[in-house]
Amino acid sequence: MNPVKNKNKRNISVTVDDFRQMGVIAQNELRKFIRGRKILLYVLLIGLIVSLNIGFLVYYPDVLESLTGTIDKQDMMLSMYGGSLPFLILIGAVLFASYTIVSEFEERTYLLLFTRPIKKTSIFVGKFLACYFIVMVMTLAYYGIYAGHSFIVTGAVSSKIGLSLLVALFDVFALTSLAMLFSTITKKGSVSALMTFFVVIMVPTILLTLLMFKDPTYSMNTGYQLEHYWYLINVAESVIYDVATADISLSKPILSLFLWGIVPLVTSWVVFIKKEV
């Protein structure tokens, strides 16, 4: 006799219990980040960039004094700090998100976790939230350092800091999602990290160069690039620092970064829940 069949079909609803499990997974992931050496490396890297920014203004204070026109000193400092952010966010995404899924298979810990009564979606979301959170916290800390430095040097903080931060948080979303995608589809963490670097740095640069040759009216001007090439991730990212010194509409870059985030994230989730071992 067949047993009474459970009426639930493949359940895609999310319950309170699922949220609790997502929290447990995210918490464990954050513990991994904090106890590992990667966080130390990341903090050192941020410290190095901050030191360079501080050192530059200590040795060349005239840079801010020589500004003319409508650019304020605090805006210039925000642009200077923001210039390193796409790189720092990329490093954060690679250090944490590029390894988050693939490491479960490389280190065979999936045999412990995936055989438990937990939806794969809860594991995926928990890991994504942890990766996003750690890079976001570092980004916020970086803006905090800028604000402190700017206040000490100029007595003020740029009024554009909120706009720059908003774009930066969308960039964190885009790069974390891309890194998660490669972490899901590759079999080695190192390959996942390389793929993330390649797609974020090399591909848009090559594409932009090709487009430049095809476009007779090509201009390096931020407004022109955002008007015509807003869909390239490096163009959208440039708004993080350019918004401090130019009047830029954020709608296109934010849409671009949202798409660069949501498409890989959904693809990654679908691949992950169908993945067999």
Binding site: N2, V4, R108, L112, I118
Partner: protein
């Protein structure tokens, strides 16, 4: 919960990779509170079956019920109340056993108080109490496997699924693990399904056996019923000194002995049923001068196994 009796029920389960069927129309019921050994040669479909039961892979077709819930349709509900050790799992090396148990306990929805209470008794059971606060990254394979078994006990599961739990362990590790497994049902209402390719391990631990070959079930019954299939009995000869290959040759040459091999310092011999109680055989064993001080008789799993899977390599 299921309205029917058996905690694990598999109906017409298939796992296909292209035209190859790793599991081929498998129907199997695991009796409540039994310790069932899942045997079969390499590639027979043991691990694939257990991976489908633990939702590591999806079935191509068929149904697999755990406590009445089809794991192919609702794995989260089906796996509630199931403890698992699949292959040799690795642990998060930055965690201690205590933290690992807390993580798993939280995932399966236990309260902090229950986790703390169970952690101590489980670590005692798997003899890892003194290592509770050491990072798992420093543990030997045997120690990690005992922790793996321990985490499967969390939440007092009604079903425990083990996939070759002693695989890859050294002899001491195997012996320690088997000792823990022997006591696995002490004080617990638990059904255990364990895959293994070690016949003596299954003989030693299990009360039922299911044999797979080419993805199909070829035998399923109690260990005691095995002899009626093979027409053979297994007799373990315990010796006062470690037996040697020469001793094995002497025993293998005796009338009625179908095969003999070294077994735990003594000798395991498979004897045809008609010779199993023949006094002449035991007299000849005594006269063989290999120092036998005790004989234990059981069903010959090896003979049954070999006769059922003889077509496999």
């Amino acid at each position: 919960m299921s309205l029917i009796g058996e905690p694990i029920e598999i109906y017409s389960l298939f796992k296909k990779y292209g035209s190859f069927s790793a599991v081929d129309d498998l129907t199997l019921k695991i009796k409540r509170n039994s310790f069932t050994g899942l045997l079969g040669p390499n590639g027979a479909g043991k691990s694939t079956t257990l991976k489908m039961l633990t939702h590591l892979i999806n079935a191509s077709s068929g149904e697999a019920y755990i406590n009445g819930v089809d794991v192919t349709k609702d794995p989260k509900t089906a796996l509630t109340g199931v403890g698992t050790v699949v292959e040799t799992p690795e642990f998060y090396t930055y965690l201690t056993p205590e933290e690992t148990f807390r993580l798993i306990g939280q995932v399966i929805g236990m309260s902090s108080e229950s986790i703390a209470a169970e952690t101590s008794s489980i670590l005692e059971t798997v003899k890892m109490t003194e290592w509770r606060d050491k990072k798992l990254g420093t543990f030997s394979k045997g120690m990690r496997q005992r922790i793996a078994l321990g985490q499967a006990f969390l939440g007092d599961p009604g079903i425990i699924i083990l996939d070759e739990p002693t695989s890859g362990l050294d002899p001491r590790g195997m012996a320690e693990m088997r000792q823990v497994l022997k006591n696995i049902r002490t004080g617990r209402d638990v059904t255990v399904l364990m895959s293994s390719h070690m016949l003596h391990e299954v003989s030693d631990l299990c009360d039922r056996v299911a044999i797979l070959d080419h993805g199909k079930l070829v035998f399923e019954d109690t260990i005691d019923a095995v002899s009626s299939v093979s027409g053979a009995r297994q007799i373990i000869l315990k010796t006062i000194r470690p037996a040697t290959e020469a001793d094995v040759s002497k025993i293998a040459g005796l009338p009625g002995v179908m095969s003999a091999s070294l077994y735990g310092g003594g000798i395991e011999m498979n004897v045809s049923s008609e010779h199993a109680r023949n006094p002449d055989l035991f007299r000849l064993v005594g006269e063989s001068n290999i120092g036998v001080y005790e004989m234990q008789e059981g069903a010959s799993l090896e003979s049954t196994y070999l006769s059922l899977v003889k077509g496999s390599r």
